[in-house]
Structure formats: C-alpha cells, structure tokens
Symmetry: C2
Amino acid sequence: MMRMLVVSLLSIGAIVTSVHVSANEPIQPIKAVKPENPKMVELGKMLFFDPRLSKSGFISCNSCHNLSMGGTDNIPSSIGHAWYQGPINAPTVLNANMNLAQFWDGRAKDLKEQAGGPIANPGEMAFTHELAIEVLDSIPQYRAYFKQVFGSEKINIDSVTTAIAAFEETLVTPGSRFDKWLEGDQAALNKIELEGYKLFKSSGCAGCHNGPAVGGTLYQKFGIHTPYKTENKAEGRKAVTGKETDLHVFKVPTLRNIELTYPYFHDGAVATLEEAVSTMGKLQLDRTFNEQEVASIVAFLKTLTGKQPNIRLPILPPSTNKTPRPQPFE
Amino acid sequence: MMRMLVVSLLSIGAIVTSVHVSANEPIQPIKAVKPENPKMVELGKMLFFDPRLSKSGFISCNSCHNLSMGGTDNIPSSIGHAWYQGPINAPTVLNANMNLAQFWDGRAKDLKEQAGGPIANPGEMAFTHELAIEVLDSIPQYRAYFKQVFGSEKINIDSVTTAIAAFEETLVTPGSRFDKWLEGDQAALNKIELEGYKLFKSSGCAGCHNGPAVGGTLYQKFGIHTPYKTENKAEGRKAVTGKETDLHVFKVPTLRNIELTYPYFHDGAVATLEEAVSTMGKLQLDRTFNEQEVASIVAFLKTLTGKQPNIRLPILPPSTNKTPRPQPFE
C-alpha cells in the first residue's frame, strides 16, 4: 500500500512537471485531429488530389502542396498552368488550419475560402468554378459521394471547398521531438537543440513565431530593422488593406516542419535554414547571430518536424462521356 | 458422412468448372503479386513519386502515370518540362510488367530500361542521369535506403531504375469482375457484358488483345484495313527497326482498366470507349459494329477494371544544403 502510494505520487509529480513545462512556453504541442466527418474528409482528399479541377487536367492541390514533401513544392515559386511562374512561394498546407488567415497576405479568412482561389487563378489551375463543378457533376460516383456527405447530389463550389477544407484540417503533424520535450520528455532534445530553443526565445524569434504552429498567429513587417532585398513584387497586407503601412507586412509563417518546407521566405529565395535564420536575425532583430548560434537555432528548428499525415492515395472515379475534356494545350 | 461427401463433390465440381472456363479462354486472370523484396519496392515507390528526379523538381513518374487515375494522365499527350507537349499518349503503368516490351514502339526491353528514359528526356523530366544521382546522393536517408536494399551507399542509375521497376512490378490489378467470371463466378457478368465478350472473341478483337493483360503480347499494324487518320507523327516499330513494313506498327496496348485510361490510341485522340471500339472494328477488322454491338463490347471492357493498387503516399526525405537545386524556370 505504501509502495503504491509512492508510485502514485511519482506519477502525479511527472504529470505536474509536464504541464508545467508546457504552460510556461510560447509554443504549445500540436494535437492529433480526430475528424468529425470522416466521409467528408475522404471526399475532400479525392478533390485535393484530382487534377480535373484544373484546365489542363494536370494540376491538383497536391501538385503545389505535395503531401510527400511537407505540403509544399520545394521550389521558389510554383508552376502553374502552361508553366506560368507563380508570384510567391507556396505555403505549406500542413497545420494551415492554425493560421489566423490564409495566403501570405491573409486575403482568405480560412481554408475553405482559400481552396477556391487556385482553381480559378489563371496562373495556377486556370479553371473556373463553373467548369470544375461541371466536371464533378458529370461523374456519377462524385454525385453519390456529395449526396452521402451533403445530403444532395447538387454539387456547388461551396460544398467542394467545404470538403477540401475538411480534409486539410486533418493535415496536422503532432509527435515532433520538440512536442515530446514540451510534454515532459527531457531526453527528447539534446543540449544544442535546447540551447537553440533558449536562444530562439531570448533573442526574440518567439515574439512572432509562437503558438502551436510556431507562427501563423499574427502579421508582421518583413524587414523591421533592415529592408529585405528581393525582386519579388508581393506587397503583403497592403494588397488587402490598401494601407501604405502594410507594405511588406506578411502573415508570420509556421515553423512546423520547416526542415521540409524549403526554400524559405515569401520569395523562396533562400535555400538553407542557416541563411534564413541569419537573415531573420539581421532584418527582424537587428542581431548578428554567430555561426554557433545559427547552428543551435537550426538544430532546434529541425526538432519541429512532426509525424507526417498518413495518406492513402485516393482512387479517383473516372470521367464519363459527358465530362468536359481537359485542355492542356489550348 | 453422406452429406459431407456431397458437399465435397460439389466443391470439386465448382473447382473443375472454374479451371475449365479459364483454360479455354484467350484471356487469363491477373494474379496478385507478392513482392520478393518489399524494401526495394518501398524505395522504388519513393523514387516513383519523387519530382526531384526532374530538372524542375515538379515532375515525377506519378505525374504522367498517376496511380489515382489508372496509371495514366488522362490527357491526349503528356505535359513535360516547361509544358512541352509530349509526342504520344502515356501508356498505363498498371500491369505494364506483362508487356513484351515498353513504350508504344517497344524500344525499351523491360520496365527497368523504360524507367531511365523519361528522366533524361528533354521533353519529359528534362534531367540527366548524372544530376538525378547527384540529387539522391546528397540525401543521407536515400543513401541509407540504397545501402539497405543494394548493399552499397553508392547510388547509380542501374540501382535507381531497378528499384523503380521493382515497385512497378507490384502495380497489378487483380480482382476485376471479368476475372471473377474467368474463375468460375457465373454471376460476375451480366448478359450484355457476356454478349460483349463473345463478340470480342468472335469478331477477332481477342486475336491481338489476349493474355492476362488483354494486350501487350505482340506488335500489330494500326490500320490494317483502313489507314488511321492522325496528325501524330509517331512511326511505331519503324523507329526501332528501321523497316518500312514496321511503319505504324505499335505494341498492342493492354485493355485492363481501359475505363480508367482514356483518352485512347497512341495519339490520345479518341475520348470515348464507344468511338474507340467502333474505330478498331473498321480499321483492324473491316467490320462495322452496330450501336448495340458497340455497347455490348464496351460493357464487357468495363468489367476489366481491377482492384487498383493500394498506395500509401511516401514521405520523401528532405533535400540538404548540398542538394542541387531544382531549376524550374531556367
């Protein structure tokens, strides 16, 4: 009895420590998501992978938010219809539901609103919502899935983007080494990684990169102390608010899985984490990190790679004789 | 005891019927594949999905042999680097191991030899074998996988294409309704489908489309009785053998999963199975199928759709600071 009591007290002690560590940190662990509506998620997954939502029949959501590659395309700016060079680096879809808004400039309020954008963007999927619906509507299996999920065979852009968003909401990455440390596993980080994290906090990085997604919670000017030199023309929030003070103010990106989501910054101009950390120090904190400091922060950042979503490739229902044909070369 | 005996005899009867049906048919069921080397298959799957084997970092094997869409891209001819319009319709990778050779003109003797082609083709992935190896070699996890599978960290194009081929060999589609019928389940086909199959045999289609893949076993001239009208410049076997008699002689394509692998013919000019069947009747058999005949053959062809490979999307190991950067727009 005495022994059991000791064990119990030890257990309580461990739990208290765990809660303590997490509660005092600017970053919180990512929680696994249990989908409320698995059938809607499955439908959304099909749509996410279906290139028939593009004019060419070649580009799907997964083309630029590739779930084999951290939910990005790992190129500076995306390739759109007819090899159009996109204006900005594709943000990761992983943990994107934690962002205060979507796109670098926050012009879409949520994942559902975001999902409609690329389909109709001439430089991305180059389709129209009307034609995308016409394609889906011509495929009996899709009509049946929509009926099952939304109670009606009548497909519209609202149900399409609702389903895609429901799938995207499941794309979270719990279980990183850093989260294990947050949850009380002291051995989950080594000395350098922990030093990096302490420096990340003490130097001010965590002022913007915080919350469960280690970012995504606010907008911030890129180039607070020193302007960022780029040929990229993106204006950031100014394009949304029209205010001159919002020039080059962007949504602070998540640092979750940052090891996988290279290249970095809105222009994708920086290929390595070392250069990204060093640049951020100078531009945002007016601080020159030495080589060892950069290395420790990079080591910390690499502990933010979580368990990637386990995706079974969907089998898409075939087009029918009534389905509008893709127009890749027109 | 007596009752058991009757049951046993009935069982034997069923088995005998099953063997009997299959043995007399020009088409044989597809058998499931149990990979000899699952780790090599897993490595091959990663390579199959890895767009870093292309110059742009955007095009993978799966881009044109999309396993969500019957192992094809469902467009007349494929989109290559810089949106180059490919010269020919992408054949399905499903059951491709049963082909006597690869590509429409059979210029690659097997899947391994095929796999190296698109990587270095300027109109497809537009890379070089050397650069592809350099990319893989810069990624420690890839080196470790290759060591595990091939016993050496030294990656070369031979090991890359061996692994891709090992993965592709698993991409078979057993379990179609037609195979169930072949295996003795009389109820697996309805009356029209069975009529279609009988007509498929009696009219001569099965003369070329036979074997487990319902094709892929021989070369045949396209346009035996009437020349096929197309703007496509592919010469077929002539490009390989140099013989004038091989002009427009192509590998007979598999009809497995034909419902999923539209559009049809080497130029991808025909969008519907009805038109494809009707055209083949005229050109190859000098026969005009009436509407009902076409419908029955199409109904039969749709019973050839098998269970699609169950693919878990691979998580690709990230590039490192040493990895050559993709060059999408150069």
